[in-house]
Structures are given as C-alpha cells and as structure tokens.
Subunit: 334 residues, 2 copies
C-alpha cells in the first residue's frame, strides 16, 4: 500500500460535500495513493460513514482531547485553535509524505507526481504571490514539525489570523530559496480569479490539474437545477460556469446517492434532490428556497443547518398532506 496520502479536512457536514467530491475526483484521476480526511467533532456519524467509503483514513481532530505539549501550548491561545486545525495533518505519521488539499479543491488530472516534491512545496497565492496558497501543499508528517509549528504559532501568531499566514511565516524562505518548491500554478488555480487574465486562462486551460474554489462562493452553494443537472451562476461568475459544473457532475454521479437526511446542513438538504427527474412544484420551491438559504449562509458560516432541517420538515409535512389529499395540487410557498 502506498506510503503517500492525499489529505483534506472538513469541519461540518456541508463542507464534507466538498471532501466527498474531492475524493471522487482523485479516484477518477486514478491516483495510486491513499486518501485521508481530518474531521472535527461536529461532523455527523452518518457523514463519517460515507467518508469512510472513499477515504482510507477518517481521523478525528479534537484540539480539546489531545494532551500533548504542542496541543497544550495551542490551548493557551484558544483563538488559534479552530483556525489551526489544519496543522494536525502533520500528525499523520503513518504516511511518509502527503499532499494537503482543501476540501474546496477539485482534481482534474492525475497529479501523483506531486509526491516527488519536498516539504514545503506550494503554489503562489494570486493576491500576494510571495506567499504560497495553503490550499494545496506538499508536506512530510512529523510530530516534531507539528510541535515546532504550534510553538511558533503560540509565539508569533499568524499575520492573517489563519493557517496560511502562519505557514508562510514558518516556511519563510519559500519565496526565495528553491524554485522546485514553487508548484506550478496549474496545481492550485483559483477558479474565480482566473478570469482576471483570460488570455492566460485560455492558454493554460488544458493544463489545469487542480482547481481551487477559494472564497465564499463554494460550488455547493451555487444554484443547481436537479432536473437539468446544470449549475447556473450569476453573470459575475459566468466565466467559471464550466468549472463549477465539473464539481456538480461528480456530485451527481458519485456523491448524491450516499447522502441522507441524517446528515446536517446542506448535505441533508441535498440528499432530497431527485436528480434528472422532472421537478414537482414542491421540489422546485424547495430548491429555490435552498438556494436562497445557501447564498445567505454563504456569507456567514454554516449556521444554516437548523433552517434546512426546518425547511425539510415543512416539505415533509406538505408532502404528507399532499399524499393524504391525493390528487389535490398543492404548491408550497415558504
């Protein structure tokens, strides 16, 4: 079995949709290596069970549970705890080398050659290209490195308050030391920013290996028509429509079947979509409402869980009422 692994992280059921699609994109690209996902406590058991079907390792990360020195140090600055969850990837010492991929990335072509690179290899961040983007990076698991980074974090904080700032401060010579540690941009193409230089995007489009839906607008938050299977984006993001559609294609072919109403957030809600089937008025109203909720929740965090459950309750009640009344046409407006 490979000593190399792709590693991602998910912090709730909605974000796990990304992790599921990402895993399938890696399998479609015929990776020879293992898949590992870090999950925080609030990822539901139902979702963990589905993640286990595609990930070799589903590892819970709970800052409060682990008692080693590095973690205790982190606990002295609790505000860093959540943001730095990603750092726990360095503790996957059962693997010799890993590539971290954010759950909002999508692998378009086999990238197994990334494991030939050394720690820390990453692609430039489009906003400040002397920093690397921490959505895709090659690293070598090591408890020592984990301890060093957390110690560094406690001492220095992070200039952006997140893992990207911290990792750039820790691996400070990335921008000047070794060109081999500069991953080509095609390994971490920011889906929404790419249009800024459309000729380059067109020139290198076929070479893109990993797409990164960085920013607030995650693919799972995009309006999606379950009947036509087409994702439709606002004109502002029109250039990225075909990229977003790639995500939804994998979602429809490989992921939706494994979702259930036991899952929280958008995962539970999307489990109710009837892909490729003519939509009932209820279904249509449901999808429209879901989309509105998505856009709203996309602005904040994933607090939409409850409201989706409420929506689903309403839907269920309506459908039950409909079954009782049989032939009556009931259109639901929320």
């Amino acid at each position: 079995m490979s000593k190399f692994a792709w590693v991602t992280l998910t912090t709730n059921d909605t974000y796990s949709l990304g992790a599921l699609v990402l895993a399938h994109s890696l399998k479609r690209a015929k990776t020879a290596h293992q898949l590992a996902v870090l999950v925080t406590p609030n990822v539901s058991q139902a979702m963990r069970d589905r993640l286990k079907e595609v990930y070799n390792v589903v590892q819970e990360v709970n800052v409060l549970d682990s008692q080693d020195a590095a973690n205790l140090a982190l606990l002295s600055r609790p505000e860093l705890g959540v943001t730095f969850t990603k750092l726990h990837c360095w503790r996957l010492v059962q693997f010799e080398k890993c590539v971290f991929l954010d759950a909002d990335t999508l692998v378009l072509q086999n990238c197994d050659e990334l494991f030939e690179r050394e720690e820390l290899s990453a692609a430039p961040d489009v906003s400040w290209p002397d920093c690397f983007n921490s959505g895709v990076f090659v690293f070598k698991p090591s408890v020592d490195t984990f301890a060093q980074i957390t110690e560094f974090a406690v001492k220095n904080g992070s200039f952006d308050g997140g893992d990207q700032g911290l990792l750039n401060q820790f691996f400070a010579d990335w921008s000047t030391a070794d060109i081999k540690k500069h991953l080509p941009f095609v390994y971490n193409v920011t889906a929404y920013a790419s249009y800024c230089y459309l000729p380059a995007f067109k020139q290198f489009r076929d070479k893109i290996k990993i797409l990164h839906f960085a920013g607030k607008l995650k693919p799972w938050l995009i309006q999606f028509n379950s009947e036509t299977k087409v994702a439709s984006v606002s004109s502002e993001y029109a250039h990225a429509q075909d990229l977003i559609q790639l995500w939804w294609n994998i979602f429809c072919e490989n992921v939706i079947q494994s979702l259930s109403t036991e899952m929280a957030g958008l995962a539970g809600a999307l489990s109710q979509l009837r892909i490729g089937q003519q939509r009932t008025p209820e279904q249509e109203a449901y999808e429209n409402q879901m989309r509105r909720q998505c856009w709203e929740s996309g602005q904040i965090d994933y607090s939409g869980a409850d409201s989706f459950e409420n929506i689903w309750k309403k839907i269920s009640q309506t459908l039950e009422r409909k079954t009782e009344k049989e032939s009556e046409e009931t259109v639901v407006y929320f």
Copy 2:
C-alpha cells in the same frame, strides 16, 4: 556615468504624466543609475522637452522608420507593431543592463539592487503567477536578443496579444528555472489587487519598493482636488487611496510646474490647475468636467485629447469673457 539604466515607454502626452512622475520617484529614491524613456511619434515636442529634463535619454521609437531586418519582419504583421513597441528597449545597447518600468509604476524606495539580477528577472503576475508581469523586468540590451524576440513574435504571435504574453512565451522557463529570476513581489505590487489579501498587504506594506497601477484606472485619471491636493477615489478603490495620493504628491511637487498648454491630452489640461489655491467656480467646474472626461476616456484609450482641448477652449473663452465683465460672477456649466 552608470552603465545601467531605468527604461520606460510613453505613447502620448497623457501617459507621459506617468513617465514624469516615475522619473521623479526614481530621483527621490536616489538612484545612482541613468534614466531612459522611449517615446512614440505622437508625443509632443513640448512634452519631449520636459522629459529631457529628467531623463538622460529620450529615444524616439518609430517602427516605420527603422529598416533593420527585425523591424521589417515585424512590419509583415502590422497588428503587432503597436503592442510590441516595448521590445525596442532591447536596442538601448549603450547600456550594459536595464530595468524596464511601465510608466504607470511608482518607485517608493531605492531599488538599485535590481541591477544585480540577470535577464530576464521579473515578478509574478497576480492573475496567473506562472507568468511574470511585464511591467517591471531586468534585461540586457542586445540587438541579437531584439532580433530573436521579434522573429519569435512573427512566428508565434502572443497569447494575450501584448508584450506580456510574448515575453512569457519567449522566456518560457521563467516559472521553473531559477528562483533568482523571480523578483520579490514588492518590486511590482499591483496597487488595486493588493486589497484581495489585505493582511498580507498590511504585513508587507513597508517593504513595497515599486507600485504598479496596472489596469484602466491610472492615477492621473483619479479625481483630484487642486485646492486640497487630495486625490479621492470611489469606495471600490478606497484601500488604494494612500497609494494613489503618493503619485499625486510627486505630481504636485515636481511635475505640474513643467506642464504647458502646448501639450496634448490630460497633460495640457492639468497644466491649468492652480495647486493649493482656492478654486474659482470656473476652476471647480473645469476640474469636475475633466474628471468626468477622464473616467470616460479611462474606459477607452487616449482619444480624449481633442475634447480636453475643446474644454480648455471653452474655459479660456469663459475666463476672457469674465475678465471683460470684471465683477460679474459667471459659473460655467458645460
């Protein structure tokens, strides 16, 4: 005298405002090296005279005039002629090494260490960081290189239709070959894009050496209050206000005095500003109109020349009429 030179290019009187401010920014940063500017035929004689006061070399570039093989080759594809004017910098063989700076850049700190770098050194483009941005680059003048690039251009064109695409195709190994040829981003910071990753901008703000006002909104097109000497930008660009103000500070202190109505475009128009003086209603109306024109012309090219002349004609007529009528308060609305 130094064998090294900073080189820029200007294609009309309006754009020459940038070249003048750039030259003064280099002098303020106490560069030890020479300054050279390439001018195309439509830069007025009045403007060339002013450029000569701050540039050691003012070199006309006229594709139609030069008869060497490389140029004749370029002539076979006239559509490339204008875009590739910048390539003529390689013909400045009186210098051993040069740094090209677009006229919409501004030097904030001494950067003479750039001449220690080899051809072709440049900073990553924020939109596609495997490409370098051709607004700032280190090169070695050579008629051979000039011939090779133009030959390459005729054969391959440019993927973006401009010099940046061409130069990236020609110096194709920039992204993978030598980290020393990756200039740190602080040598070419895109003023308007920097806010995308504000924490990084704040972290590295004091290290910025060269600002680049890439895009349509050039500093000289920004609303500027001649009385308060403050440039005011729309909320969309608010984060860049202090950067734009730096440009206008140099404009007020070093440039405006040298402008005259013999100049075309915005240069002629701005020569009429009375810096730091209370504005008459005419002056205010004039500046407001100028700003509107600027915004409009900012969307297209520099075709605003005529209209500025017309505005100025109107202003002059109004002022003359005012002088005749003496104490009458005349507010001009265009």
